[in-house]
């Protein structure tokens, strides 16, 4: 069998993870390069567990994870070098400044110095953190902390960006800044996968949406494709489709 010239950005095959009971139950999922993919589901559906396995924070019980063709279980370092993970709780050091944080993260990802300096300046300015670049993060609001963490996630120019509830607790202005930056990254060719409970954001930003429940994919597709799948005549919004699929499946 001949390998495709452009492997999927993410390919999950029969992925399983159990914590006593199955959290992810034979999940198959494929995301193409450059897609903005929203992974939706009720609490406990297995979204975060799935993404944590992709980010290399958990080992799957079985199944495969391929990131741009790299087997993430067999060669985790190669996979990690092109992935960025941004959880809902910013991973920061209170006593470091945003600039020091970016120096640290770019060092971890071995970003060449000229690239790291240029990207740090661009990101700090794009996220309106330039004035605070030498102030310690401990006094920052949640929104500012999330912006610093996002800058850290983007400093090594990841090909696959995984975000778990990145907009939780952000005010409208900062949430919009973050969304704009993510959309720009996707437009520039990066693949973005995010989970969110803010369905309006998923509807507006994502090119495809996957809905999971009980660790299995219930439905997947563009908004139009999802509308066709629903049978309840629910009016066409993502919220209506989501509720139709999730509650219908539960019944």
């Amino acid at each position: 069998m001949t390998a495709l010239p452009f492997p999927p950005a993410l390919q999950l095959t029969a992925l399983r993870k159990s914590f006593g009971r199955p959290a992810v139950d034979g999940l198959d999922l494929t995301v193409q390069p450059g897609e903005f993919y929203a992974l939706l589901g009720p609490n406990g559906a297995g979204k975060t567990t799935t993404l944590r396995m992709v980010a290399g924070l958990m080992r799957p019980d079985s199944g495969t994870i391929r990131i741009y063709g790299i087997d993430a279980v067999a060669d985790p370092l190669a996979a990690k070098s092109i992935v960025a993970w941004l959880p809902d709780e910013p991973m920061l050091y209170d006593k470091l400044t945003p600039l020091e944080y970016l120096e640290f993260v770019s060092g971890l990802w071995s970003v060449p110095r000229p690239d790291a300096e240029r990207r740090a300046c661009e990101l700090l300015q794009a996220l309106e953190l330039w004035a605070q670049r030498d102030s310690r993060c401990e006094g920052f609001s949640r929104g500012m902390r999330q912006k610093v963490a996002l800058a850290g996630a983007l400093i090594h120019d990841p090909k696959l960006l995984i975000l778990d509830e990145p907009l939780t607790g952000l005010d409208a202005a900062i949430a919009r800044q973050v969304q704009d930056l993510l959309a720009a990254r996707a437009a520039a060719g990066a693949t973005v996968i995010l989970t969110t409970h803010i369905l309006e954001v998923a509807e507006r930003l994502s090119s495809r949406i996957g809905i999971i429940r009980g660790g299995r994919l219930l439905a997947e597709g563009t908004m139009d494709e999802l509308r066709h799948r629903t049978t309840s005549g629910s009016g066409g919004t993502l919220e209506a489709i989501f509720l139709d699929l999730v509650t219908g499946e539960a019944a």
Binding site: L92, K95, E100, F104, S106, L108, A120, F140
Partner: protein, 510 residues
């Protein structure tokens, strides 16, 4: 009260049998060391003039009191910034005086208990040697604990009133350091006095008739086992504590309310431009991050500085020694080993067990082994820098002793780092003050190994080679036993690889 005491002593440990084994080892080691100390102190009356015994004992009580005050002040400052519990309790329909009294009593117990644990073996060994007067250590420590807690709380309240809660957080820790080490500097200053001035001072403080002395020598008399003095000291300590609890309740409630609105300290405004330091080098980035965090956090810096600062009077005392002064060297050498072990333990714990962004590091393309190595290098470098100076000073005076001390410090540092590396739980950096509570067994193991090494160095400096070798073997055996006994039963999780509670046994390579 139960809540605060549980918070103070709720040592999180795994495996009851292991805990018992470590505790028994610690108790035995402390008692062995105490036996030697009692034997040395029992010879003091033969070498020190009788009229100086009482001043000497009072000096010892003074040292203990300053250490208790420093500890209480540090605890009182932390109590102001306690999240959650104090707000909840103060919102209850109970007079603030009563709440404060209970909180102060919990602080007194938490402050005094560690001193009792370390001093009690002296009392037991004294009794064993047929000197029941040593039992006075118990009531004297309790009395000093009550009075010292009262002084610590008043100082903390005074600081809040004087400079506000924000500055108190840092200034209180700094003052605790100064108080805790102040007497060391006083002793050094006394040593530097001309001999005639020293003799005059000693003459002034000498006591020919202990029974006729006043309140000033009361603590010394109590420590010597004078029953009347013991009772009076206990009553005095309780009275000072009760007076403070009655007078300061309302002030504490107001200060606490002010402290509740204070954000974390630190530089939050715009700062000076500095050159960019981007480097495509993961281990170097990790080391630099650890050093920056170690230097910057007052909650961390102060306890570390406290230990480092305590080395200064030791270093100064060394600088003032005449060559071949074996007694002074034999006292200072094991002290340095204990300081080095405690310093290294704290630093290693911070760098290895208290990672603030474990997921960031776990998702970076840096092998787990490289991460651990870089962190260990950062911890070891910081520790060696801190104990290196006094060892160098010692080398100027007594090269042989310096070699033994340097070896002991290095062994203690490596042992503390290995134990921190084996510590499986992840703890927040700001909980550094509660290290004993959070990593009880590991802190205890570190103490036992460090004390064994200090004993080995003490014996080596004194020329008791066989004893030194035996103590070193004991330390190595204890370390190996702890590392094997405390190793996680499951496949070793990468400490920095997974967040708490997410995955019971994540793959280290992932």
């Amino acid at each position: 009260m139960r809540l605060w005491l549980r918070r103070a002593f709720d040592v999180r440990v795994r495996g009851r049998r292991l805990v018992m084994a470590v505790l028994i080892l610690a108790v035995v080691t402390l008692h062995l060391l105490a036996y030697g100390t009692v034997a040395i102190v029992s010879r003091v009356p033969q070498t020190v003039p009788a009229e100086l015994i009482l001043p000497l004992m009072s000096g010892a009580v003074g040292v203990l009191f300053t250490l208790i005050v420093a500890q209480a002040l540090s605890g009182a400052v932390r109590a102001f910034f306690e999240a959650g519990t104090l707000d909840l309790v103060f919102s209850a329909p109970v007079p603030p005086q009563r709440i404060f009294a209970v909180r102060a009593l919990a602080l007194a117990v938490a402050t005094t208990a560690p001193f009792c644990i370390f001093l009690a073996p002296l009392a037991h060994m004294g009794l064993l040697r047929g000197q029941p007067a040593w039992l006075a250590i118990y009531p004297v420590t309790v009395a000093l604990g009550l009075a010292g807690t009262a002084v610590g709380l008043v100082l903390a309240l005074g600081l809040v009133r004087l400079i506000g809660p924000r500055l108190t957080r840092t200034a209180g820790q700094a003052l605790a350091v100064l108080i805790g080490t102040g007497l060391g500097f006083a002793v050094h200053a006394f040593n530097k006095l001309p001999i005639d001035r020293k003799l005059t001072l000693l003459d002034e403080v000498s006591v020919t008739d202990p029974a006729s002395t006043g309140l000033a020598w009361l603590p010394g008399r109590a420590l010597l086992g004078d029953l009347d003095a013991v009772i009076m000291l206990l009553l005095l300590g309780a009275a000072i504590f009760a007076l403070m609890a009655q007078a300061c309740g309302a002030v504490f409630a107001r200060s606490r309310a002010a402290a509740a609105g204070v954000a974390a300290p630190g530089r939050t405004g715009p700062a000076q431009e500095r050159p960019l330091r981007f480097r495509a080098d993961g281990p170097a980035a990790l080391r630099r991050k650890e050093w920056l965090l170690l230097v910057r956090d007052p909650w961390i810096l102060m306890p570390v500085l406290q230990r480092a600062f305590a080395l200064i009077p030791v270093g100064l005392a060394l600088a003032g020694l005449e060559g071949g002064d074996n007694l002074a060297t034999s006292i200072i050498a094991p002290m340095l080993v204990v300081f080095a072990g405690k310093l290294a333990g704290g630093i290693a714990w911070l760098t290895l067990a208290a990672e603030e962004a474990p997921e960031l590091i776990a998702t970076a393309p840096v092998p787990a082994g490289t991460v651990s190595r870089a962190k260990v290098e950062a911890a070891l470098t910081a520790s060696v820098l801190l104990f290196g100076l006094p060892v160098l000073l010692m080398a100027l005076r007594d090269p042989a002793a310096a070699v033994w001390t340097g070896l002991g410090c290095t062994f203690a540092t490596v042992a503390a780092t290995l134990l921190a590396l084996a510590e499986p739980s992840r703890i927040r950096r700001r909980d550094f003050g509660d290290r004993f509570r959070n990593s009880g067994v590991f802190a205890l193991a570190e103490l036992v190994v460090t004390l064994s090494l200090a004993g080995a160095v003490w014996l080596a400096v004194g020329g008791a080679w066989i004893g030194a070798l035996a103590a070193t073997v004991l330390a190595a055996g204890l370390l190996a036993a702890f590392l094997i006994g405390l190793a996680p039963r499951d496949p070793a999780p990468q400490r920095t690889a997974a967040p708490a509670g997410a995955d019971p046994a994540p793959n280290p390579s992932l």
